[in-house]
Structures are given as structure tokens and as C-alpha cells.
Symmetry: C2
Subunit: 221 residues, 2 copies
DNA sequence: TTTTGTATAATTGTATACACGAATACTCAA
DNA sequence: TTGAGTATTCGTGTATACAATTATACAAAA
């Protein structure tokens, strides 16, 4: 899936429109005309069409035959729902990781945490972007470690979806520290092969992220 | 999403190839050439391309740029994993339905159950296809009743995914009866606004489906 | 025999052309 | 002015044409 996106034009158009929807450039019920989009991006209708069809599958666009494509939009409630779903599935993921994780992946998780902790220790102040990237890496490794193609695929999709909400939420130093501590606890539980604990911790980890979002005034309605 | 699939050619090609992959006509690592597929289906490359790009997003096809599209395939483990995930999310769905369901949807659920029960009472033997369709309808209504676009979308996708596994599994009369009883219990819990009970019952309902699959020799490895 | 280079064929990627359907604007009668 | 009916316009749906890339076949050199 990733392969195709990288070099091909159609793939880039897809990602671009997707970003523009998630960022709010195109708002709900906006009509997405193939010609217009193509001219804006300097490509023909063909790759645009492919992108729109894919976006429909993702639920970001609604296509009415012979009529047009319209932005479905993504509400605060949608994002909130995804977090709830994610909290359950991240728990499941951690549980499965206990059984399937490799030594190499354990090392990778350790490394991600160490790098995060290093960032937070910097006296010059931590690099928020870097910390966010490392957070993403930690979770991504965990997804792969679940040994389930389906679950991994799903969680990565979600992660992409809420990327924008995350970008908008300021990473408070306090939350960042707590988050890393929680990562470490999860890793510990997985090392100890304690499935129940791993599940519970991963579950709560997402719930804490949600609490933080709410504290920052995120609208879940 | 459904709208587009119904009338357009590209949508039908998408569903057709999807079916063929899930049914095993195209096996893992098979190359899907746009021209060949187009000729087989009597259409040009354009709708085939759109379909392949969509299938990639679903994880059924892997596209390597400038090389081709290959069937990713779906293993027994994939299906099993989906059932596990589904069991959690169906629980969540039932929980949310308790809060969001409308009177009309309650009636629709009741109707689906009544029709199922009617099928099972027929002395001439029940129509398995009909019962399966009604089962699907029951769940679909419940998905909508969750009030969550995201969850509903997700569960419908899953339902499609495992459709084939279900088709292959014989619907034993015993299991069918139990299944309908479980549906009725779920509906009862939702009517009673008992979220915990609804969640637990919906959860277990899927677990029972899984047990039945296993009993029929389904390979989850 | 193996390897490497090159020409050729096959396949994908993108753009364009044409067909079809839907929406809009217009005409003309009441 | 209003309304029905028709013409025109606009956008999508599909097919085809062309460009770019990759795979294949074959020949020449090591």
C-alpha cells in the first residue's frame, strides 16, 4: 500500500486531497470537481478520479453517480469515536503483542522510549515534533508486533485519521512525560508476558490521551 | 458509498474482483493485469484501475508502482482476527445503541427477528439464504443504531470481509435457532436500556459464532 | 556457459476524447 | 408572471491514445 503512494502521481493526489479534507481546506458538503482539482494540482482528471474513489472508501468523500463527489467531513464526534474504538483495540494489540513480539521489536520499543526520554531531558527544551514522531513510532512497532495484519492495518488507519487532531493539540510537557512513562509501563508488561496488564495499560493509555484532549477543550459532540 | 457502487461500472468491477479474491478465484500472489481483467469483464482499463486502487486500500491487493497489482490474499488467521475484533466492537456497538437507538429502529430489529423466527418455524424446512440475509439485516440495523458513523462503517466493512467465510460455513439448524434467540436477548437488553448487558450479549454472540466456525473445522491459523 | 548490453515487447501511468446523464437556462404558451 | 417543455451547458463515466517504465529475448563478449 505504501509503495504505490510514494512515487505515483495518483497516490500523491490521494494523500493531498485527504490532507486538505482533514485540515479543513475542503469543508463538509463541498463539491469536489474532478476538473477543478486536476487543474489546481496540475494533473489530469484520471489520477484525481482514482483518488476520489479511494477517499470514498475511507469515508471522507461521498460520491453520487453522475452527479459528483462531496466532502463527507469528519466531526469532533467521529474523532472521539475513533479514540474510543482505538482504546479497545490498542488493548487487544498489546495483548497479542505479548505472544507475538520478537526480541528485535522489544529492542525497537526500548529505543523509541529511550530517545523520547532523551528529548525530555534536554535543558534547551524538548522538540515537540520529534516527541510526536517517536510516539507514533512506538505505537507503530506495537501494531506490527501484534502479529495481526488486520489489526495492524486498522490501527494505522486510525492513527492517520486522528493525526490532525493530534497536531492541533498542544503537547504539554506534563502530558508528554506521563505518556512516555506509560509507554515504559506497557513495554514492561509485555516483557513480563503479562497479557492482562499490557491490555489494561494500553487501554488506559489511550483513555489518558482522550482526557488530555478534553482538557484542552476538544469538542467531542 | 453504496450509491456509487450500485449503478456505475467501476463500482461493479470493484465488487466483482473483490468477490473473486475472497472466493479464491484469484489466489495469493496472483498478478492482476489491468488489460486481462478488463477483457474478462468486457470493460476498458479505466474502471479496472479504479477498482484495483480501491482494493489496495482494503488490503486485498498490493500495488507495486510501474510493476503491477498482486493479490494479497486473506488467510484463515485474518478472518479469525476480524472476528475477535468484531466481537469487541459489536459489544461497543450494542452499548452505544442503547443510548442512540430510535423507536423505528427498535421496530426494525423486532421485525428482522420475527421474520427469522417465522423462517425457522416453516415445516418445509427453513430457507438458509433468507435466514442469513435476515441475520445480516439485524446486525446492519444495529450498526446504524450505534449513532457512530465510524463504528458503523467499520463493522459493515468487516461484515463484507467475512461474508465468504460465512457462506462456506453451513448454517446448522441448531446454530440458527440459538443465534436468533441471542438476537432477541440483545434486543431485550437494548429495550431495557441495559448497556452492560447489551454489550456482553453482543460480545458473546460473536464468540458463539466463532465457536460454531471452529466446530465446523475452520482453520484459524 | 555465463554475463552483459541492447532491442523489443508488454504493462503500467497519465492525458485526452467522446458518450451519457443531470442541471440549468431559455422559449413560448397560458 | 408562471409553468411546461425543450435546448444548452456542464460534469461525470468510460474508452482510447500516448508516454514512461519495466520485463523479455537475443546476441555478443568474457
Amino acid at each position: 500500500m505504501e509503495e504505490y503512494q510514494e512515487h505515483s502521481l495518483g497516490g500523491r493526489v490521494f494523500q493531498r486531497i485527504r490532507e486538505d479534507i482533514l485540515n479543513g481546506k475542503y469543508k463538509e458538503h463541498d463539491e469536489l470537481r474532478e476538473n477543478t482539482l486536476g487543474k489546481e494540482l496540475g494533473v489530469s482528471r484520471t489520477p484525481v478520479r482514482e483518488a476520489l474513489r479511494q477517499l470514498e472508501l475511507e469515508g471522507l468523500v461521498t460520491i453520487i453517480p453522475n452527479r459528483g463527489a462531496y466532502v463527507t467531513g469528519i466531526t469532533g464526534k467521529d474523532i472521539w469515536d475513533i479514540y474510543v474504538i482505538r482504546s479497545m483495540l490498542e488493548g487487544l494489540c498489546a495483548r497479542w503483542a505479548v505472544e507475538h513480539i520478537t526480541d528485535e521489536q522489544l529492542d525497537e520499543l526500548e529505543e523509541a522510549i529511550l530517545l523520547s526520554e532523551f528529548q525530555m531531558k534536554k535543558t534547551s527544551g524538548f522538540n515537540a515534533e520529534q516527541v510526536t514522531e517517536l510516539d507514533g513510532r512506538f505505537h507503530s512497532i506495537l501494531y506490527d508486533a501484534s502479529g495481526s495484519r488486520m489489526l495492524s492495518h486498522l490501527l494505522k488507519d486510525f492513527h492517520n485519521y486522528v493525526k490532525v487532531a493530534r497536531k492541533n493539540s498542544v503537547v504539554s510537557e506534563e502530558r508528554a512525560r506521563k505518556s512516555i512513562r506509560e509507554h515504559r509501563q506497557i513495554l514492561r508488561a509485555i516483557r513480563d508476558r503479562d497479557a492482562d496488564m499490557a491490555e489494561q495499560l494500553a487501554n488506559e493509555h489511550i483513555l489518558h490521551v482522550m482526557q488530555n484532549l478534553k482538557k484542552q477543550g476538544f469538542e467531542a459532540k
